[in-house]
Chain length 422, copies 2
């Protein structure tokens, strides 16, 4: 891998980053001893759930059974653990049915039993089981509105936990008195395990009142049944310190930082100084891009704060407040805004991709930007400013032939951005 | 200066930064020889115009006359050059009258004469003379709407240039056939001299058509006379390469980079590693703050991309899309968003100020943030999230007693942000 081809170099870094946080690479070291007497039940949800279950089967000494739910197209060939596919980011009946069955599976366990719970990003939508008195349709309408509102993932999950029969620690409670080990691949900035997939096995510090104020903050239309549920406190979650979680443990096995470290390692091996700005950057994608562009320009123009050539890396989760009608996820939006700000700067190349291989709801992981992007776009008659106004990052990079398509990676540590300054 | 008192340390850095870009420090080295035969006329506009004129008088060998316009409260005791004060950021009749008189002063000059034009940030509003057929009131209504729209300074100035009788090179044209030297203190990201104060003496590459599309982009109500003026092309400016500018020169004498370099130098002298991220950062203030917070947290948690203790510095000009009814400029907004994101992190202190000493339209230069800000705010019953929603950064830091009030600094190189990670 060399920087003679910046495009291949950046693509290679993305592949290194994703490989470093795969279930195959990260899960085996964290597997416990099988229980002496009881059985081992495997449950889980998320984009990596099937890959984690598959890796678990390959390394486990003893019998396994159970059920994990993953996104359509994310299955893996498990032999003992059942894999169900369901819809993401908007839940469907398949996810609801799987959530229901998982709650049934953990009924009647004994203190000798071990539950291995495999959790990764996307699990929140995939494990959608509305609380009593709320319909899936009502939950979906709130969820869809939240996804378009610019709310952070933490805010969305606070709401989801309080409308759910399984999130916010309720699944953990249902496993009692069995021992529970939750293994997590983190897709949330800050790696709070209670936020990943809305923490089905972890106590939850957030409250019904907070959920209600988040819905009001983003002016979400609240169905009356949802409002009544939240206002009554019936949706309250078990809180940290609850003694019913005394036999439960959790472990994050992969995170954004590991992906960034792997990319930095690969870059340095190719002789390029690599600088990790943050593993948990948040903010509106187009503005986060302006700051990255400003730092890259400073490096190019003045050798501050780093001398060139060098690589800037960042992870986290940006948000997009949708105002237009275009296509594309937050990584395409980030990169289109970056393209506008860099305006063909001759020394700067960039990649922005989601590590799960799916940027938003499209078929691409993200896209690539090069100094020629601006002139090639002009030659094609594209108007990048108008396309950004229309949230059409996908359309822009698709027209340029610069989408990066990887297919589902079956892991998920959120955004991956790499900017090469030559 | 030591980091034993982070607050005094950061305030000292701000003072070092401002001192490094004062007229007194920067102007003398760029003064030309007086003309052999003709007279020397001084004109100018901006927050630093009076300070520049005052310094010029102290260093000039020979007779001077002329007129500069500055903001109310920004005058300096000149003896030969008349100083007029006018309104900023919304123009008033005093500025219009001064612009009119400046255009009269440069009539009838000879090729032997020298015009020294002293330009700094704020000059755009201070030199407000509407083009024929447009009233000051119409220009003001467009300007007020632009200031609240989230438009960048470059976009605002493109519009202003095409509604003006003096901007976008028109003042330069009026000086012919005299020699013209324009000395500029830059308050614009990227230091393009044609953008500073809307470039009254510099040719302008932007067009009437662009001005119109900017007004439409931000959904500004366009008075019919303004629309007719732009659509007819009557407002077109002289373009780069115009031979009528052959005897005109310009020189930037102070910029954001110089202010940041001075602060970095002062920090290093105190034993603190200083890293300049950018001299030209743009974007929505609250999102730019999230990125700064993410980098600061990465440094505190992982020693990436810099080891601590260290100082992060950045300049540029953020924007605020006003949605609430609170008080405060973009630096208070930046710092309130930073405060929310850092949430009392014990190792991080910060300052955000405008180098002109006026954040937005308030009486403060900016504000200071410390780890105790969050708990002190809670003790006072303040809700930082709600106050940010209401764009009330001033109210927040005023209640904490953490505004930084310097009074007008009589220079202007835009934003100054310093974040200390201990």
């Amino acid at each position: 891998m060399t920087i003679d081809s910046p495009r291949a170099f950046l693509t290679g870094l993305y592949q290194s980053a994703v490989a470093a946080v795969s279930a195959e690479k990260c899960l085996p070291a964290f597997l416990p001893q099988p229980p002496a007497h009881g059985r081992t039940l495997v449950i889980g949800a998320g984009k990596a759930a099937a890959a984690m279950a598959h890796t678990l089967e390959q390394h486990w000494q003893g019998h396994l059974s159970g059920l994990v739910v993953t996104r359509y197209g994310h299955a893996a060939p498990c032999r003992q653990i059942e894999v169900v596919e369901a819809a993401h980011p908007v839940p469907d009946a398949a996810g609801q049915e799987a959530a229901h069955r998982i709650l049934q599976l953990v009924q009647g366990l004994s203190a000798d039993d071990l539950v291995l719970c495999l959790i990764s990003g996307g699990g929140s939508a995939l494990l959608a089981l509305p609380a009593d008195g709320i319909t899936l349709q009502q939950k979906q309408s709130v969820n869809k509105a939240l996804l378009k509102s610019g709310a952070s993932i933490a805010e969305m999950n606070c709401v989801r936990k309080h409308l759910s029969a399984i999130k916010g620690g309720r699944l953990g409670l249902a496993c009692a008195p069995a021992r529970v080990l939750t293994l997590l691949i983190s897709d949330v900035p800050g790696d709070d395990p209670a936020v990943i997939a809305s923490g089905p096995t972890l106590p939850d510090a957030s409250t019904c009142e907070q959920a209600l104020s988040i819905l009001r903050k983003y002016a979400i239309a609240i169905p009356p049944a949802v409002e009544a549920h939240l206002a009554s406190g019936r949706g309250e979650t078990p809180k940290p310190g609850d003694p019913r979680f005394a036999r439960q443990q959790h472990q994050i096995i992969a995170s954004a930082q590991q992906a960034l470290d792997a990319a930095a390692y690969a870059a340095r091996a190719a002789g390029v100084a690599a600088h990790i700005l943050s593993d948990s950057m948040e903010g509106e994608a187009r503005d986060v891009a302006l700051v990255h562009a400003a730092i890259a320009r400073q490096i190019a123009a003045r050798g501050q704060p780093f001398s060139r050539p060098c690589l800037l890396l960042s992870g986290g989760e940006t948000t997009v407040t949708v105002r237009g009608n275009g296509r594309g996820g937050r990584n395409a939006e980030f990169l289109l805004s970056l393209a506008l700000a860099l305006d063909g700067h001759p020394a700067i190349h960039a990649l922005a991709c989601d590590t799960d291989g799916i940027d938003g709801s499209e078929d691409n992981a993200g896209a690539l930007y090069s100094p020629e992007s601006a002139s090639r776009a002009a030659a094609l008659g594209l108007h990048p400013g108008r396309m950004l106004d229309d949230n059409d990052g996908y359309g822009f990079f698709c027209a340029l032939g610069d989408l990066l398509v990887s297919g589902p990676t079956r892991t998920n540590v959120n955004d991956f951005r790499a900017i090469l300054i030559l």
